[in-house]
């Protein structure tokens, strides 16, 4: 029972300590902060500007993103 319990707990912990596990944790943390920040920004935008500002936002987003993309190409 004890060995089985140790195996069940130990395997995921060993995986999280590995290289792949570290990148899974990193993916988790990146997703937490990105979701939190972008949802908050979207809700504040909709509260202050409203849905009628979304088309202009998309145009501005494209105008800002397009110069960024070539800068970060390999």
């Amino acid at each position: 029972m004890n060995a089985q319990f140790r195996h069940r707990i130990g395997s995921p912990l060993r995986f999280l300590a590995s290289r792949a596990g570290s990148f899974v944790v990193l993916a988790f943390l990146v997703a937490v902060q990105d979701t939190y920040a972008s949802t908050l920004a979207a809700s504040q935008f909709l509260a202050r500007i409203g849905a009628q500002g979304v088309p202009l936002y998309y145009v501005l987003n494209a105008a800002v993103s397009l110069p960024f993309a070539p800068c970060f190409r390999a």
Binding site: R19, A20, S22, F23, V24, V25, L26, A27, F28, L29, V30, A31, V32, Q33, D34, T35, Y36, A37, S38, T39, L40, A41, A42, S43, Q44, F45, R48, I49, A51, Q52, G53, V54, P55, L56, Y57, Y58, L60, N61, A62, V64, S65, L66, P67, F68, A69, P70, C71, F72, R73, A74
Partner: protein, 170 residues
């Protein structure tokens, strides 16, 4: 330009800059309609940038076979992060309000930064080759006209128009 610096440094600098921006943005006085637009644009641009850097890092630290083997694990980690991030924001805004919720953002970004720095210092990339390209910022931007005329641009344009029509946005 991405080849001019080590990728792990670019990822850390990106997260560091985002942390500073997230500290400054909530304390700025409201400047008419400009601030919500700027806030949303900055956050979304950094969001795309950080996700892109994450996948570039994965490509640097894993072989193609390992990347395929662990792709499901990485996506599961992200999915769990989306659930926790959304849930945390819901809890924070209902318990403490949007102002306090905004002040929590830098702490979350900083936690990702600290863990990313620790992981990339502990693990070594598979390929530590000398940067291949030394192109400047101006040289990088030369591709812009070709990019604008590419099929991807038209695809995104059509997607935006379809979204506007679907949601009846005017």
């Amino acid at each position: 330009m991405i080849d001019r610096f080590p990728r792990r440094q670019l990822f850390a600098y990106g997260l560091g800059l985002f942390t500073i921006i997230m500290i400054v943005l909530p304390v700025l006085p409201p400047i008419g309609k400009a601030l919500p637009y700027a806030n949303y644009l900055i956050v979304r641009t950094f969001e795309h940038l950080i996700y892109s850097f994450y996948y570039i890092l994965v490509a640097d630290y894993f072989t193609v076979t390992d990347n395929k083997r662990y792709a499901g694990h990485f996506v599961s980690g992200m999915a769990a992060g989306v659930l926790i991030g959304g849930g945390l924001l819901t809890a924070m805004t209902s318990l403490a309000g949007p102002t306090v919720a905004a002040l929590v953002t830098p702490a979350l970004v900083a936690s990702a930064l600290v863990f990313a720095s620790w992981t990339t210092k502990r693990q070594h990339p598979l390929d530590a080759a000398v940067p291949a390209s030394r192109e400047s910022l101006a040289e990088s931007l030369r591709i812009l006209p070709r990019l604008m005329s590419a099929a991807m641009f038209l695809n995104i344009l059509l997607q935006c128009i379809a979204e506007f029509l679907a949601f009846s946005l005017r």
